[in-house]
């Protein structure tokens, strides 16, 4: 192997490291047109639907048929903080961060979906 060959081999290794950091890291920064998820689309019991940006930290109190459900938006993610329902499935869903992630409190009829430029799923069926 010549010196130039070693140079090419080193450049190849660098390229591979770059590719893995771009496409296999948590931030997935290399995907074209990607960013973090940007907004939470929230649907409430009275049929209203609104969208809130995730880069703005806040606590939301939403009224439902059972009582008040509290949502928290922090650090680009959204979660159910508390809900008067029985199963607490919505709270166990945890932080929603990526486009396409979804959680709902069916008893209190409130749902949250993260909408972003990139979605995790093409479609979901229940």
């Amino acid at each position: 192997m010549t010196r130039a060959d070693y140079g090419v081999a080193a450049a190849t290794l660098l390229l591979l490291v770059l590719l893995y950091t771009l496409f296999w890291s948590e931030s997935r920064a290399g995907f074209p047109g990607d960013g973090r998820a940007e907004a939470a689309r929230i649907a409430t019991a009275d049929g209203r639907e609104f969208t809130l940006p995730l880069d703005h930290d806040q606590i939301l109190e939403l009224a439902g048929p059972l009582g008040t459900t509290v949502l928290e938006i922090r650090d680009g993610a959204v979660r159910f903080l508390s809900s008067p329902c029985r199963g607490k499935l919505c709270i166990h869903a945890g932080w929603l961060r990526h486009g396409g992630e979804f959680a709902a409190c069916l008893p209190n009829r409130i749902s949250v979906a993260v909408v972003g430029p990139r979605t995790l799923y093409d479609s979901i069926n229940f």
Binding site: M1, R3, A4, T12
Partner: protein, 204 residues
């Protein structure tokens, strides 16, 4: 032999020695290409690319033009034999071959320029094979993304595919490096080609 109806005279197309050489080497590359297509592949698009060993050996022995002929003829005839002509597989194969040939041409020119500065700076078989393999995979990948699967999820496949390409490129580079001394010491086989006068070889 062609018999032209107007004149009734015989036209003989005589292949030059270079034509025959390219035909032989292409036949070898096609054989490897077809044999390799029988190997199962864990990832779509991941193949050892052993036929490129022939392309690289031709590049070092006979230059870039001959390598272009061998590589493109191999893609064309290989696809005809495998029944993939004009299918997506053919488009991927062709785009990969074109990309690697373009990079090989540029690398060869650059390597010759650098070798004038310092002899240790020219690219050997391993460097060339690495570049060719990465360019092949890159070209294929871009073709797949542009025409067949324009979905961003495809990029998740790029790092492992490139890793495989680098690995197989390195391996085939070592194979070429081991082959070349034997090939270069081989005396030219005069018997392989019949007497040939000129490149065009079209005699009335």
């Amino acid at each position: 032999m062609n018999r032209t109806p107007q004149s009734g005279r015989t036209l003989t197309l005589t292949p030059t020695r270079e034509d025959l050489r390219i035909a032989w080497l292409t036949a070898l590359a096609i054989a490897i290409h077809v044999a390799e297509s029988a190997l199962p592949s864990p990832l779509p698009g991941a193949k050892p690319g052993l036929a490129n060993v022939v392309t690289l050996a031709v590049l070092f022995l006979y230059g870039w033009r001959a390598a272009v002929w061998v590589s493109l003829l191999r893609v064309l005839v290989g696809s005809l034999l495998l029944g993939t002509f004009l299918t997506p597989a053919f488009a991927l194969s062709l785009s990969g071959a074109l990309a690697s040939l373009a990079v090989l041409g540029a690398a060869l020119a650059l390597s010759r320029g650098l070798a004038r500065l310092s002899p240790g700076l020219h690219l050997g078989p391993v460097g060339m094979a690495l570049l060719a393999a990465l360019a092949h995979m890159g070209g294929q990948f871009l073709c797949a993304y542009a025409f067949f699967i324009p979905h961003q999820g495809l990029f998740t496949l790029l790092p492992p595919l490139m890793t495989l390409a680098a690995f197989f490129g390195f391996a085939s580079g070592l194979v070429v490096a081991a082959m070349l001394p034997h090939l270069e010491s081989q005396p030219p086989r005069a018997a392989a080609a019949p007497e040939v006068q000129d490149r065009e070889g079209l005699r009335p």
